[in-house]
Symmetry: C2
Subunit: 340 residues, 2 copies
C-alpha cells in the first residue's frame, strides 16, 4: 500500500510499504477513506522533534473495516468507522472514568501511522465507533475532524467547564481552538471570546459562535478579556497552543475560581507555582480523551447539527501529502485533508 513516510525534517514522501495485517485478535484493519495532517506533525517536520529514521505519519482517520481479529465483536467488515488518535480498550478503570487517552493498554495511532491506504487499529472494539448510514462528503469531512481536532477542542471546552452562563475565552485560532469555540457554543456558553489576529480565522471563529474577537496578545490580550468580563476574567479559558506565552495568557485571562482547559502540547512551558497558587484557577488538560465524546460527536455530525469539517481549507490526494505539509508549514493552510 502507499503510505506517508517522513525521512527527515522537511522530507516527506509517499512510498510503497507492506499492507498491515491482523497482529492481535483484538485488532482490525481498516481501509482509510480520509486522513489529515496535524499541527503536531509539524514538530518533526520543522526539526523541533527528532526524526529517528523513516517514520510512518498520521494519527487521524476515518475508514471502512476491511478485516477483524477473532476477538472483535463490536464492529464488522464493511462498517464505516472513526476512531481517535489513541487506541484504547474502553473497559479499564481509567477508560471508564472517561480518560481513554490514558487507557492502561493505550496504543498511540501515531506510532502506526494513518496517512496511508490501510491501517491496523489495535483494541478495535474499544477504539472504533461505527458511523450509522452513508456520510455525505461534508459529513465525511466532519467525521475526520472528530478523530482529533474536534474531539480535542471539545475536551478543552469541557475541561474549561464551558456551559450556560459562562464567559469563555479561547487562546489559539488553529483548528483545535476554532473547534473549541464550536464546542463551547454547543455546551451553552453565552459569551465566547476568540483570541485571534487573522481575519480568515476570525471569520471562522464567528461562524462557530464567537461573540467577541480579541486581537491583542500577552498582557494586552489579558486586559481586553478582563474588560469584556466585568474586570474579573473569563469563567472558562481554553488554551490550544502550548507555548509559555499562551499558557500564561490563558491562566491570567481566567477569574479566580474559573477553569483553564489546556490541550496545546506544552513545549518548554514552566509554570510558576506561586503565580498558579494565587491565580486560584482550576487547571486541567492533556491528550484529549476523544473517544469519550465520539459517539455524541458522530451523532451531531450525522444529523447535521454541527459542521466542524469547514476547518479543512485544503484538500489533496494522499499522493500529494508533501505539498500538504509544506502548505501547513508555510501557514498557507490551517488544516489539510488527504483523500485516499
Amino acid at each position: 500500500m502507499r503510505a506517508v513516510i517522513m525521512h527527515a525534517p522537511g522530507d516527506v514522501r509517499v512510498e510503497e510499504v507492506p499492507d498491515p495485517v491482523i497482529v492481535e485478535p483484538t485488532d482490525a484493519v481498516i481501509r482509510i477513506t480520509a486522513t489529515c495532517i496535524c499541527g503536531s506533525d509539524l514538530w518533526p517536520y520543522r526539526g523541533v522533534q527528532k526524526v529517528d529514521g523513516p517514520t510512518p505519519m498520521g494519527h487521524e482517520y476515518t475508514g471502512v473495516v476491511e478485516e477483524i481479529g477473532s476477538a472483535v465483536s463490536g464492529i464488522k467488515v464493511g462498517d464505516v468507522v472513526v476512531g481517535s488518535f489513541v487506541a484504547s480498550d474502553n473497559t479499564c478503570e481509567i477508560c471508564r472514568a472517561g480518560y481513554q487517552s490514558r487507557c492502561v493498554h493505550q496504543v498511540m495511532m501515531g506510532s502506526i501511522g494513518t496517512q496511508s491506504e490501510y491501517a491496523r487499529v489495535p483494541l478495535a472494539d474499544g477504539t472504533l465507533v461505527r458511523v450509522p448510514g452513508e456520510p455525505t462528503p461534508e459529513q465525511a469531512r466532519s467525521l475526520l475532524a472528530a478523530s482529533d481536532v474536534l474531539g480535542t477542542g471539545w475536551f478543552a471546552a469541557v475541561a474549561a467547564d464551558a456551559g450556560p452562563g459562562r464567559s469563555v475565552a479561547v487562546v489559539g485560532d488553529g483548528a483545535v481552538g476554532l473547534l473549541a469555540i464550536l464546542a463551547a457554543k454547543r455546551l451553552g456558553a453565552e459569551r465566547i471570546i476568540a483570541m485571534s489576529r487573522h481575519a480568515d480565522r476570525q471569520e471562522l471563529a464567528r461562524g462557530f459562535g464567537a461573540t467577541d474577537i480579541v486581537a491583542e496578545r500577552g498582557d494586552e490580550g489579558v486586559a481586553k478579556v478582563k474588560e469584556l468580563t466585568g474586570g474579573l476574567g473569563a469563567h472558562s479559558t481554553v488554551e490550544a497552543v502550548g507555548t509559555q506565552e499562551s499558557m500564561m495568557q490563558a491562566i491570567r485571562s481566567t477569574r479566580a475560581g474559573g477553569h483553564v482547559g489546556f490541550v496545546g502540547v506544552a513545549h518548554g512551558v514552566e509554570l510558576d507555582g506561586t503565580e498558579l497558587f494565587f491565580s486560584s484557577v482550576h487547571l486541567h488538560g492533556g491528550p484529549a480523551p476523544v473517544r469519550r465524546f465520539l459517539p455524541e460527536l458522530v451523532d451531531l455530525i450525522m444529523t447535521d447539527r454541527i459542521d466542524p469539517g469547514v476547518v479543512f481549507d485544503l484538500t489533496l490526494p494522499l499522493d500529494k501529502a508533501a505539498e500538504g505539509y509544506k502548505a501547513m508549514d508555510e501557514r498557507r493552510a490551517t488544516k489539510v485533508l488527504l483523500t485516499v
Copy 2:
C-alpha cells in the same frame, strides 16, 4: 491592648499597642478569645520572608463582638464569632461563586494581626459567622481550627474531589494535611493514605480516618501509593506543604483524570508543562476560601461531630507567644494555641 509584634526574624514580642477602632461602617471590633500561630508565620520568623519593621502578627481567631459599625446588620455586640484569614464581602460575584478568599474587596487579616486582645474585622457581615450557643473548651479550640487549618484542609479535600468511592492521598502531615484527612473522611472517602514519617502525626492521621500510612517520600512514596491503588495512583491527592518535592509527589501520586488539591503556599515551585500535560490530572488550589465552608464547619463542631481542635498540641497564654513561635520553629509543636 497587648499584641504580638515581630521585629525581625526570631524576634517576637508582646507589646502594648493602641486599641483598634471602627474605621469603615462595615467594620466590627472583636475581643479575641483564642488565636494561634500558623505555619506561614514561620516564614518571616525564619527569615525566608522579609520583615519590614515591627509587624503585627496572626490571622486566625475566634472572639466576641465588642463593637459594630453603622452598616453592620448580620451580627450584634456579644455574639460569639469566627472568621477566616481573609475578610470578604460575601456578596461579590467571586464570593458568590465560592471564592471568598479572592473577594474583589478582600482584606488579609494578616495585615491587621489577630494575635492580640482585640482586632478590627473589615466587612464584618460577610466575614464573621455567628456561633450558636456557648462553646465548650473543646468546641472553642475546634472553632479556632476552623478559622484556617480546618477550612484549608477541607478546601484541599474538596479541590481534590474527595468523596465516596475515592482513594485519597495526603502529602504533608502538618495541621492542614491532618485536617484534610478529617475532611476526606467526612466527605465519604473510603481509602485515605497519609504520607507521614512521624509516629505522633501518624497516630493523629489514623484518628482522623487515615486507612494507610506511607512513610516513604519522593519516587518511593509515589510507588507506594500506586501499589495501594491498583497501580493507577490515587483518585484524589491533597498537597499541603508547598515545596517542589511535595508538589511533584502529589501530581505523580495521582491517576490520569484524578484531582490534585494544593494548599501549601508554593515556595520556589516550578511545574514542567510537559509533565503536567501528560499527567492528565486536574489541578486546583490556592488560598482556601474558608468562608465558603465555615457555616457547615461551625455546625459540625457545635454538634460534636468533628473535633479538629486536637491538632493543637501546645496551649500558651498570649504573653508567652515568643515561646510558642520557638516551639513551632523547633518542631516541638505542630500547632500552638494562644489563649487571650
